[in-house]
């Protein structure tokens, strides 16, 4: 009989992209889809739809979880034109506590393909905005999403989950930032115009690099890339004079022997007056002689070094993720406490009105005598009865809220108190609760 949260769906771990792409919703269609879903699934009171390239999830609030899930699955199959048997094995379902925990973990980027990646929070905020726009988010979902956002924020603040580089090109750029304070006044030389070199160059440009020189065995490739990245193409058999200008050198050419050796580069370093050089070797076989790393103020990283950095960052993030799980668990507890308290609302309302009714009944019985009293005395009696009733109510209600009744479930204690106090409606009690639950939804 209680409102409870559920989440079901598929993600990158349970379903291949071939399945995910068929269920995913384009961003612009979600509001309309939510409206259709609400129509098709009357058992669901509140609902939101989270659709990213790694997950399609329906999150809802219902008092009949099994029915809600059946209706939503059918809806998803019909609405996306996918046979339910195609994705049913990949579906996971979380209810109540597990659902809250899942939502918080998703928001904190603990359920992401790359743990700690920051996009998911934005995607979750989007999903919430769409549910709010469609009018399908109610009291519980509003609160759940906001709590998920604050949990994500707390996790980011208290752990290092988003730190470190998790791709080779971002590792290279991260290293550049360890060597150079700013990249705006630095020159980058790309030797080889391959995809990895381009990706690295783009990342460097994002950090402010303005001067970009590109050379490639095939001059046309260098020119084409220079045009894309707003750089300058340099002929391959004549790139050496430019070496002394370059603060970052990215090598990615196919060459049997190193393109740059230590003897040659020593002269370059002197000409540069020992200004540091960061050499990123993406080539296999390697483009730069390993001994370059021993030169003063030269930092050489080959593809394996960069991969090691990436591996370490991923390891660090996983260690941080454990701390984050602890934070999530605490927040789940506090959210469930709030949700539990919510259930008490209708019962508490009943208890209040029953007691108040008794008071009024009693006053009514003595109306004649009361009328004979002086106005001041009458008021005194009024306030005396009201004070007595309030003290009694306070003791009962605060006892229920604080779990002093000795039963684990506050709602259960409230229900008992409600039944004991309402003499005339004891048998039809359930009907009354239902009425009030509906009211509660509109809060």
């Amino acid at each position: 009989m209680r409102e409870s949260l559920f989440i079901f769906g598929i993600n990158h771990r349970t379903a291949p992209v071939a399945v995910r792409e068929r269920l995913a919703y384009p961003e612009g269609e979600i509001v309309a889809a939510l409206a259709r879903l609400k129509q098709a699934a009357p058992a669901i009171d509140e609902v939101a739809l989270i659709s990213t390239c790694n997950r399609v999830e329906i999150m809802g609030v219902t008092i009949a979880p099994d029915r809600a899930q059946r209706e939503a699955t059918n809806f998803l199959a019909c609405d996306r034109g996918v046979d339910a048997t195609d994705f049913a094995p990949a579906l996971y379902v979380h209810q109540a506590r597990a659902a809250v925990r899942h939502l918080f973990r998703v928001g904190a980027s603990l359920d992401s393909m790359v743990v700690g990646e920051p996009q998911i929070l934005g995607q979750l905020k989007n999903a919430y905005a769409q549910a709010a726009a469609a009018g399908t988010a109610g009291l519980v979902l509003h609160r759940a999403f906001h709590k998920a956002f604050s949990v994500a924020k707390r996790v980011r603040k208290a752990t290092l989950i988003g730190h470190g580089s998790v791709s080779v090109s971002s590792a290279a750029v991260g290293l550049a930032a360890k060597i150079f304070d700013t990249l705006t006044d630095k020159t980058v030389l790309l030797i080889g115009a391959g995809q990895m070199a381009e990706l690295t160059a783009r990342n460097l440009k994002r950090l402010g690099v303005q001067s970009l020189l590109i050379t490639s065995r095939t001059f046309d490739n260098a020119v084409a890339l220079a045009r894309r990245l707003d750089g300058t193409a340099v002929p391959f058999d004549n790139f050496r004079p430019y070496l002394k200008l370059a603060d970052v050198v990215v090598g990615s050419v196919a060459a049997a022997a190193p393109v740059i050796g230590p003897e040659e580069f020593e002269g370059v370093i002197r000409e540069r007056r020992y200004r540091p050089v960061f050499m990123i070797d993406l080539g296999v076989p390697r483009n730069f002689d390993q001994r370059l790393n021993a030169l003063e103020n030269v930092y050489l990283y080959d593809i394996d070094d960069l991969s090691t950095v990436v591996q370490e960052s991923i390891g660090d993030r996983e260690r941080e993720a454990e701390k984050a799980e602890g934070i999530v668990d605490l927040e789940v507890d506090s959210f469930l406490k709030w949700l539990g308290g919510l259930d008490l609302v209708p019962a508490i309302k009943d208890i209040r009105s029953s007691v108040e009714q008794l008071r009024e009944l009693e006053l009514e019985r003595h109306r004649a005598w009361l009328a004979s009293l002086a106005p001041g005395e009458r008021e005194r009696i009024e306030s005396m009865t009201r004070g007595l009733v309030n003290k009694l109510l306070h003791r009962i209600l605060s006892g229920i809220r604080e779990g002093r009744a000795g039963v684990a479930d506050g709602a259960y204690a409230a229900e008992i108190a409600r039944r004991l106090l309402s003499n005339e409606l004891a048998i039809e009690g359930d009907v009354l609760i239902d009425d009030d639950s509906d009211e509660d939804d509109d809060l």
């Binding site: 150079f180 540091p276 660090d316």
Partner: protein, 275 residues
């Protein structure tokens, strides 16, 4: 230092040192967050002590080796604070806070000497200027050596290809450390030069000669030439980065050796034996 001031001052510096160390180790505690304010609190308390004693003595309270150590520690804490706040490099605190603490604690427990009254004849406006400039120059060299130490540690890690500890996310870049080292050296050198000039003017006014070749003076000249060479090598040959950092530390070692050595072995007039 007066114990009324000494104990809380030392406590602040110690807590600051512990906080900076925790911050570095990635231990997030309240102490780690309050490391810089604690350093500031220590410096403020010490300022109070120095002011009191300065008013009592009617001049800068630096009449013996122990007192100049205390004064130097104070200037180092102040200069360190400025560097930490302005360059946003709390890593410098890992070095500055313990040094200030140790110097003060050592002075309090071992070096402490009888205070010498300064002869009326030597009192002059040049005294506070000369002493403050000299010790401020030294304080800047202390911090430059610390920055260089940090540089060498980071540079070694980068060379060894183990650069990205999770707590290192906010560590300064090599370029920044190198630039700050250079600036500190430049300012320190300027202070030292001015200290020599003002000292000479003062000496001339009292003893009638600019320079008397006593040990403190000769060694200061050596130090001055070493720092001049350090700055010059950067400007002409372009020695920067690792080499500049290593040399900064070498020259600083000479500075410490001469400062302590001269003060303990051949104090002369600079040690307070005004004759």
């Amino acid at each position: 230092m007066n114990t009324v001031w000494l104990i809380p001052t030392l406590a602040c510096y110690a807590m600051s040192a512990a906080g900076f160390a925790m911050e570095r180790a990635g231990i997030r505690t309240r102490l780690a967050r309050w490391a810089t304010p604690m350093l500031a609190a220590g410096a403020a308390l010490q300022t109070g002590d120095l002011l009191m004693r300065g008013i009592q003595a009617g001049n800068v309270p630096v009449t013996n080796f122990g007192q100049s150590l205390v004064f130097l520690a104070w200037l180092t804490a102040l200069a360190g604070l400025v560097v930490i706040v302005r360059t946003r490099m709390p890593v410098i605190g890992v070095y500055v806070a313990p040094i200030v603490f140790v110097v003060l604690a050592l002075e309090a427990t071992t070096v402490r000497q009888a205070r010498l009254a300064m002869p009326q004849t030597l009192r002059s406006v040049w005294l506070p200027i000369h002493v403050t400039l000299a010790l401020l120059g030294y304080a800047l060299f202390v911090i430059a050596a610390g920055v260089s130490l940090v540089y060498l540690v980071y540079e070694k890690r980068l060379k060894a290809k183990r650069p990205l500890m999770p707590t290192d996310e906010r560590t300064p870049s090599l370029e920044k450390l190198d630039r700050i080292n250079y600036r500190l050296l430049g300012w320190g050198f300027l202070m030292l030069s001015l200290a020599i000039v003002t000292g000479a003017i003062w000496a001339d006014a009292i003893w009638g000669q600019f320079w008397s070749w006593e040990p403190a003076e000769s060694w200061t000249l050596v130090i001055w030439f070493l720092y001049a060479g350090l700055l010059e090598s950067r400007l002409t040959v372009g020695w920067r980065g690792r080499r500049a950092a290593a040399l900064t530390i070498v020259v600083f070692t000479v500075l410490v050796g001469s400062f302590v050595g001269v003060s303990l072995l051949a104090p002369g007039k600079h040690g307070g034996n005004f004759g």
